[in-house]
């Protein structure tokens, strides 16, 4: 499982993390992705990086499903802390609380932080 916790644009982690997810998806591995803390901001609608000159990649998260990332979790509290709801996000996700996310994380063989 990819556990993403970082905001986009300010650093490259979110973007390079996404690149890893896509490659793993192409490898046909069973993968899932979780977004918590600032990573939920990567999924926020309406991002336009044209004036800061970095690559805009929020749209790319929408291919995760096609790349075989069927389980996409967002932690509820992280959303709430940032004043966001599911409707503010660019893709369909399952919003779960921390305890549920912990349960899913506990079922994994590998947890990759990005």
């Amino acid at each position: 499982m990819f556990v993403n916790r970082k905001a986009p644009h300010g650093s490259i982690y979110a973007y390079e993390g996404l690149e890893v997810i896509l490659i793993f998806g192409a490898y046909d591995q069973e993968i899932s992705a979780a977004f918590l803390d600032d990573a939920v901001l990567s999924l926020k609608k309406g991002q336009d990086t044209s004036e800061i000159g970095t690559k805009e990649f929020s749209a790319t998260f929408r291919v995760l499903e096609a790349y075989g990332v069927e389980n996409r979790y967002v932690e509820r509290e992280s959303l709430e802390q940032r004043g966001l709801t599911e409707e503010d996000l660019v893709m369909d996700v399952e919003v779960v609380d921390g305890a549920t996310l912990r349960k899913y994380m506990g079922e994994q063989d590998v947890l990759l932080p990005f």
Partner: protein, 111 residues
Amino acid sequence: MATLEVNGKQHELDEDGFLANMDEWNEDVALALAKTESVEMTEAHWEVVNFLREYYAEYKIAPMIRILTKAIGKKLGKEKGNTKYLYELYPAGPAKQACKIAGLPKPTGCV
């Protein structure tokens, strides 16, 4: 840096012959890029190129081959959604060659 002249205009290419500035793409540029790859553009070729451009416009990436075949099969018909069909059109590899002609950035090649 190499350039490609199309209709009297110079277009910069990167070291692998990909269009350096995506915004300069048009159909004539595509034809010139196809020539550098020795690809004769037929309607079937355009179909793939246009598909890639639409995909890129929506998702900001070029799909990997496995995803490309699946998505093409869905959009253009099952008989076209396979690697063999795409390799017949683009022998050097659909992801790389078709992306180049479509004026998309070169795949990062991280696989």
